[in-house]
Symmetry: C2
Subunit: 429 residues, 2 copies
Amino acid sequence: MVKNFLNLTQEECQREYDKLIFDYENFKSKNLKLDMSRGKPETRQLDLSLKMLDEVNSRSDFKTLGGIDLRNYGICDGLPEMKKFISSVTGVDEKYFIVGGNSSLSMMFDAISFFMIHGSREQKPWCKQEKIKFLCPAPGYDRHFSICEYFGIEMITVKMNKDGPDMDFVEDITKNDSSVKGIWCVPKYSNPQGIVYSDEVVKRFANLKPKAKDFKIFWDNAYFMHDLSSETETLTDILEECKKNRNEEMPIVFYSTSKITFPGAGVAFLACRGENLENLRKMYSIKTVGFDKINQIRHLKFLKNKSNLYNHMQKHREILKPKFELVLKLLESEFKDNPILKWNSPKGGYFISVDTCSGCAKETVRLCSEAGVILTKAGSTFPYGKDPYDTNIRLAPTYPNIKDLGLAVKLFCLCTKLAFLKKKLGLCN
Amino acid sequence: MVKNFLNLTQEECQREYDKLIFDYENFKSKNLKLDMSRGKPETRQLDLSLKMLDEVNSRSDFKTLGGIDLRNYGICDGLPEMKKFISSVTGVDEKYFIVGGNSSLSMMFDAISFFMIHGSREQKPWCKQEKIKFLCPAPGYDRHFSICEYFGIEMITVKMNKDGPDMDFVEDITKNDSSVKGIWCVPKYSNPQGIVYSDEVVKRFANLKPKAKDFKIFWDNAYFMHDLSSETETLTDILEECKKNRNEEMPIVFYSTSKITFPGAGVAFLACRGENLENLRKMYSIKTVGFDKINQIRHLKFLKNKSNLYNHMQKHREILKPKFELVLKLLESEFKDNPILKWNSPKGGYFISVDTCSGCAKETVRLCSEAGVILTKAGSTFPYGKDPYDTNIRLAPTYPNIKDLGLAVKLFCLCTKLAFLKKKLGLCN
């Protein structure tokens, strides 16, 4: 029978602790070595795209529709065929795309770098302005925050609601503070909470009236194809909505096949309109003589078309779904009647976000690590790595096999309880 | 019999012109459509690396020596095996390398971008300093100059001597002007002149005493393997020499396989030491979760080792050498006794650099273009696209087949003469 730890006396806490610490030592003796820290696909998922490597070989035809040899320099902003493909999948007109290299993160970095050096909409370059601030819905993606830190951009945490960032706050601060130049969004199956921005939230984004003329929305649609059920959640088209509201210079949208084919060798995409598109296209024409077009055609031949891509994602889902179900089942059985942990049940994406009681996340992660299970560093889902209440932990269930995952999550549940009890007993440093 | 145009009377000029313009119209009627503008490998060269595409396929082993799956995220600064390979070829210790994506130009851009945002050696970021200047040995590579223009870096032209840039000038200006922060070098088979920097020049570089503590040498060793004869020219190791002179923070060296395997799908490398290495490695760990390791291993399996790489380059040479010989033979036969054109005879690289008489380069290129042969834009070998005497033209003989090349060069010779005569006759606009 599950006890509700919130109701325990100090004495009961001690008794519970003594019992659990015994289980914990037991775990330690297993010498586990598991990594649940990053949103990495597992081997069977990588195997799903193996055949892609055979699509281009020494007997392939390397002429594009335009008669250009794919193996040579040129076509800096991507193969037209690849733009057609991503357009058919995303619904965004092909003319707004730049097809990049293997990393959408790099394209985000490049875009910010552009604004640092050149600015936009006749405003001073960001590096020449006194202070640049970005809004960071949190919990969020640590690599977005690292890019801000790199560029010396001050981060302001924005609360996440069930349907997206707290738009009252976003509207208010962008309207009043001209140093707020951007916001990071993972609008579909957000990292780590799996939240899908509602139609209303997207429309409020598109309708922002920022004081900064050069305000940008970084719309990292990393999980646009990563449903965990057979029904996809719909996400309103930010580019289209912004255009309607004469805000076409705000959004820059990013996609990637990293978690569709190979994380190290996928293809990244960027879509935007107007001046942004012109500027970023020009920037890439200076920065490179072209991205890897052979890898683009390899992807195109393998992924083929929208319906084939959906079939491919279904295979990913078949591998991932049981893992998410297992984690949720274990959390449910351990914490349903012991509300010292809260969690979300995502319909897509790569993570399960959990919240411990205040001040328990770091210790939970530490205890797990000491017993051989690496979790994402506590705090890393917040700007500067500082979770104000030390509660959020990002669980990444995709990489370990299901047996290891079960063990790891059992250990995690145990450590969550231990951390809570230690805090209550005053045993923490 | 070849006439020396320098000795012609006005009347003789007119007669010569009337004769040549007839030949020119004849050329025009051929409706040529040839491109000699960029240093692109031709199809047979691309075919040399076709087998590389078979090296990695669905039956490959994707574990690295370290047990990591190449298809997944990680190993941000490149496969250790790839570092070993490039080290064995270049003689630079593997520990100084970052293995990148498909574009060394991007890595140069990224490095400058880093110094713009962060600076180095405790100096202010370049974007916060009043003015940044770069030395640009010219004729040089237009894409280097474009990067400077992009970042708002003022360019100062440096004369090229037979053994490298004019080091008296370089020493003098770097010693006295603290806003001079960098220099672009293509030290082996320079673009476009094919000059190899002498040991003395490299040592003088290494021994610079720049007033700017944050002075950097961008050492773009693009043609390190691109000999046109079976004997390679030796180039002194700039990293080693700089280290000896306590200048290890100056040089950043770039290599690429773009013209070894595929221009669009090669592998780029960067080598540097000390703070530079630490900073750029950190920058990439923020900018990307890793470059394309599958393409790295594809290269490694195909290029194998130093001696195999030499064999491979020999095959390139067999295709390229006759083209260079043809161009040189035609230039020789047309201008040996008519010194209105001067040219170099490179021992490697991708170009033949020619100098027309003062004020004739643009018109020569224009005339060629009107008759269907595209040359590199006149002026583009100089900063801001401005050749002070309008003399230099970069011929890129690699891309056309040998028959087309012969035609194109004959037209070029004709246009050179026409442009000279037009100028002498006052027929230019």
